[in-house]
């Protein structure tokens, strides 16, 4: 059985996809292709002070983190979404974004690495 990186919630991944690595690969690719660009786009929205859009985008991509086993990030994105929708000061929102971005950037690398490992495994 494929063993996921400890950074990912393997139990959760297996529970959702029933151990089907082909669907896990589809989800991981989708995460990189769909969610990461939206996360990056949020930075521009913060700079443009379009906080409602920041909140909307956070809400849009929030479930995708859990779907690739990044369950620990879900509450952080949830809190960020709530904060963005509360009409925050730009500096505070940007700080929070940059703090989470450290986790997201690392998670992106993990997902990329896991995709390579899965390709070799299958």
């Amino acid at each position: 059985m494929f063993e996921f990186n400890a950074h990912l919630d393997a139990d959760y991944i297996n529970e959702i996809y029933g151990g089907d690595l082909s669907i896990v690969q589809i989800m991981f690719n989708s995460f990189l292709e769909e969610s990461i660009p939206v996360w990056n786009e949020m930075y521009d929205k913060i700079v443009a002070k379009n906080y409602a859009e920041v909140g909307r985008l956070a809400h849009q991509i929030k479930p995708s983190f859990s779907m690739v086993g990044l369950t620990f990030l879900h509450p952080k994105i949830q809190a960020f979404e709530t904060f963005a929708k509360s009409g925050p000061a730009q500096g505070e929102l940007l700080t929070q974004y940059q703090q989470i971005a450290v986790d997201v950037n690392h998670a992106k690398l993990v997902i990329e690495e896991e995709l390579k490992r899965m390709e070799d495994y299958v």
């Binding site: 529970e15 959702i16 089907d20 669907i23 989708s30 479930p63 995708s64 779907m67």
Partner: protein, 229 residues
């Protein structure tokens, strides 16, 4: 025979996940996937499906809006991140209600429910034109031809005949499936025997002096089913 299904889901990863699960299930034939309810509505105006996997929250029309606009509602499995919509979903008599992300075991359970309901429906045509209802500890035979209409009263339904009425513990959805095409759901709270209608005016119809409302969503199907000049 596989059941034809569609997916209506705006969120890309949820959509892909559900698509994969449907494609892998031996009893499902995924005929189309939609990113919004508007496109699904256009599709459903000409195509008939057995099952809709339907997201609740979408930009534009919501999942509930889609159901309101359908003239004939197939089995529906709603998917959402919020459990708050469960009550509303229940009002639409959906077959199942799943929290996203949809887990494989829960997905299989939902499909089993669909298959069970569908099996009941397909056996109806071979059954006799009667049902037995339990009242006061006895089972009373009701010929379909004696039933005027059925009213939803919470967890129960009330079946009206010319001489009597019977309260039984079941769902409108189940009766709708069970009774077959002599009957039609014209409103969330009413199923009517089409042969018993004596008058239709705007958004109401009359059966045995009882005025029964017709919902906007169900009216086109009613008019289709009647022999109009």
């Amino acid at each position: 025979m596989k059941l034809k299904c569609i997916i209506v889901e705006d969120e890309v990863m949820a959509r892909k996940s559900l698509q994969r699960l449907c494609e892998q299930h031996e009893s499902l034939d995924l005929v189309s996937v939609f990113e919004n309810a508007e496109d699904a509505l256009v599709f459903l105006s000409t195509e008939k499906v057995d099952v809709i996997w339907l997201d609740v929250e979408m930009p534009g029309l919501s999942g509930f809006d889609l159901l309101e606009n359908l003239t004939s509602i197939p089995q529906v499995i709603m998917t959402t991140t919020k459990i708050e919509y469960a009550f509303d979903a229940y009002q639409y008599q959906v077959t199942d209600y799943l929290k996203k992300p949809v887990m494989l075991p829960r997905f299989k359970m939902a499909v089993d429910k669909v298959l069970e309901l569908n099996a009941r429906k397909t056996t109806v045509s071979t059954q006799r034109q009667e049902i037995y209802v339990k009242t006061d500890g006895r089972y009373i035979r009701l010929a379909y031809s004696d039933i005027l209409y059925i009213e939803n009263i919470g967890d129960y339904v009330k079946i009206y005949t010319h001489d009597n009425s019977y309260i039984i513990h079941t769902t409108m959805k189940y009766l709708e499936e069970k009774l077959g095409n002599q009957f039609l759901r014209v409103h969330r709270s009413f199923i009517v025997h089409l042969d018993k209608i004596v008058d239709i005016e705007e958004n109401n119809l009359v059966i045995a002096k009882k005025v029964i409302p017709i919902s906007r969503a169900n009216k086109p199907e009613l008019m289709n089913r009647l022999n109009m000049l």
